[in-house]
């Protein structure tokens, strides 16, 4: 179980990953994008993989983060750190509201509520043209700079420098959330996923935990949206549409539910594949659909789990089996 690994291991793993990534993928922009969507997929995984809540509103948090960051960078003199922090907090706040209402219903009605909130967000962004640019998106977003008083001032105009901003943010967020799912709170979430009634009976305030997990999910998803807007220098309306929710969901499922590493893998594979196929065969989404069906039917643990068990079989050690087992 990854739960048995010390925090240092996760920090190390994430750092190594973020350090190597730009050298193995075709471009730094793609590497940045991978880290950003890995965070978004992690946000989705917290809800679906750990707590069993299927949310169709992830794009709302993602898009909101993008708009917040974009607007602050255009209209307010905030530094990078402040912009990201406020976007994160705002995302958490929105998620708490969505969560508060959505979790009053279970099953399909829950999904529908998250979908309704997502669509509301979309149409509001669409209509609030003076603020969000409506259909054209929010243009000329600038990357704020980072000032360390009396010492230095960094701006992040180049793709390389912005990659490292993203990488540092990624490592921090990832470690924090890994810590979260390894904590007692994480076990409660898993208990809720397995059997909500029993978790309730044991005495957990299931509703509070669900709202909390929404808050974390909204926070990290919004953070990733903010980074995305800064990366593109642009916050398109499509950030907040249902297709974005589906893409995030897909990365999450592809990589594997119930493991943050799986979400990273999901983002890597998805974005590499779309980068690869985009020019080769524009209808590659057909494969995507096929893959989604196959994974759900035959590999409910996602790719990560398969990779783990393959690895375990090759090396013959028990260690990785356990690691994979935590993801099931």
């Amino acid at each position: 179980m990854t739960r048995n690994f010390p925090l240092g291991f996760h920090i190390g793993a994430a750092t190594v990953f973020a350090f190597i990534l730009p050298f193995v993928v075709p471009s730094e922009v793609l590497a940045t994008e991978i880290l950003i969507f890995a965070l978004a997929a992690i946000g989705c995984n917290l809800l679906l993989g750990y707590t069993g809540l299927l949310s169709f509103g992830q794009a709302l948090f993602f898009g909101a983060g993008a708009y917040f960051a974009g607007l602050m960078s255009i209209h307010l003199p905030f530094g990078l750190f402040t912009v990201l922090l406020i976007s994160t907090i705002a995302g958490a706040a929105i998620a708490v509201i969505v969560g508060f209402f959505s979790i009053r219903r279970a099953g399909i009605y829950f999904v529908m509520l998250t979908l309704a909130f997502g669509q509301l967000g979309y149409y509001i962004a669409f209509l609030a043209e003076p603020l969000t640019g409506g259909e054209d998106g929010l243009l000329s977003v600038v990357r704020p700079s980072l000032t360390i008083p009396f010492i230095a001032k960094f701006d992040f105009a180049t793709n390389t420098s912005f990659y490292y901003v993203t990488a540092v943010t990624f490592v921090m967020a990832f470690t924090l959330l890994q810590r979260l799912v390894d904590s007692p709170l994480g076990s409660v979430l898993r208990a809720i996923k397995q059997n909500e009634a029993r978790a309730e009976a044991i005495g957990y305030q299931v509703r509070l935990y669900k709202i909390a997990v929404f808050a974390f999910s909204g926070a990290v998803t919004s953070l990733s949206g903010a980074l995305y807007a800064l990366m593109l220098n642009f916050a398109p309306l499509s950030n907040i549409d249902i297709e974005t929710s589906e893409v995030i969901l897909f990365m999450c499922v592809l990589g594997g539910l119930g493991s943050l590493y799986g979400s990273i893998l999901g983002a890597v594979i998805f974005l590499l594949a779309s980068d690869f196929f985009a020019e080769l065969w524009p209808r590659w989404m057909l494969l995507l659909g096929l893959m989604l069906v196959m994974i759900m039917l035959y590999m409910p643990g996602g790719l990560w789990k398969s990779v783990c068990s393959l690895f375990a079989r090759l090396s013959g050690t028990d260690d990785t089996v356990k690691k994979g087992g935590a993801n099931g």
Partner: protein
């Protein structure tokens, strides 16, 4: 009324098999394309309208046999994700077959033009849609409420095991219900094609609204789908009077409100 047709298909399938079909919108799109194709081949919209549900129904039958029947017992989340996969496959299939440019469909000459009600001009074709949808609603009501088949469908939605203990083939009943629901989406697509053409992405919005219709009415309730369709229609025409861009905001707000106030929709069972 198009929303009713979409919604009722969705709700019949959910009510009977507890199956959440996120691919429902794509059957609507493919209905429009197939109607278009028949018009290209035969030159007649009427042939298209008549044959589309049959072709879409056949497609649904194959999909039910190969895939969907394995999903009835699974979790709703799994059903949703898999049917999104199906949606992607069919959508990309449409784009491969018919290309990325949407196909225009013209209104049959018999129904072009407007009728006047006193001062008001109303397009003939839209009246035709309302009439067809009303006819289908009536036929469905008769089928579900008055025939032995309808009794079987309702019984199956409550307790499929007992239906098979009485000697009825529940698998076949499920397959038929799925085909019926999907064929209704196909008809809806064919009907709408002269208004908005055939477009691979037309299903997304339609699916969203169909879900609103069904959720408002209560998942699985036939009356609910009818009333839900009416409510959505009313909210739309009401809002478009003073805030035309805001109709979708209103529709989704109404849905969220109704779910929160009446957990199972207006006519849903627990």
């Amino acid at each position: 009324m198009i929303y009713f047709l979409m919604g009722v298909g969705l709700t019949i399938i959910f009510g009977m098999m507890h199956f959440v079909n996120f691919a429902h919108g794509i059957y609507y799109a493919i209905g429009a394309y197939i109607c278009y194709q028949f018009i290209v081949w035969t030159g007649s919209f009427w042939i298209g309208l008549l044959l589309t549900p049959i072709v879409v129904g056949l497609l649904a039958y194959v999909i039910e046999r190969v895939l969907v029947r394995r999903l009835y017992k699974m979790d709703h989340a799994v059903q949703i994700l898999i049917t999104i996969g199906v949606m992607l496959i069919i959508r990309e299939g449409i784009l491969i077959v018919w290309g990325t440019v949407p196909k225009p469909v013209s209104i049959p000459p018999l129904l072009s033009g407007v009728v006047f009600f006193g001062e008001f001009a109303y397009p003939k074709y839209r009246l035709f849609i309302v009439a067809v949808a009303a006819f289908i609603a009536l036929a469905l009501w008769y089928l579900l409420d008055k025939t032995r088949f309808g009794i079987m469908v309702r019984a199956g939605s409550e307790n499929p095991k007992m239906v098979s203990l009485l000697g009825h083939d529940i698998d076949r009943l499920f397959a038929f219900t799925f085909v019926l629901g999907v064929a209704l989406a196909g008809v809806a697509g064919a009907l709408i094609s002269p208004i908005r053409g055939a477009d691979a992405f037309m299903g997304v919005e339609a699916l969203g609204i169909a879900f609103v219709v069904v959720v408002i009415g209560g998942m699985g309730s036939f009356t609910g789908a009818l009333i839900g369709g009416l409510i959505v229609g009313l909210v739309q025409s009401f809002t478009s009077g003073f805030w035309p861009q805001g109709t979708n905001v209103m529709i989704y707000s109404v849905m969220a409100l109704i779910i929160l106030l009446r957990p199972n929709g207006l006519f849903g069972r627990a």
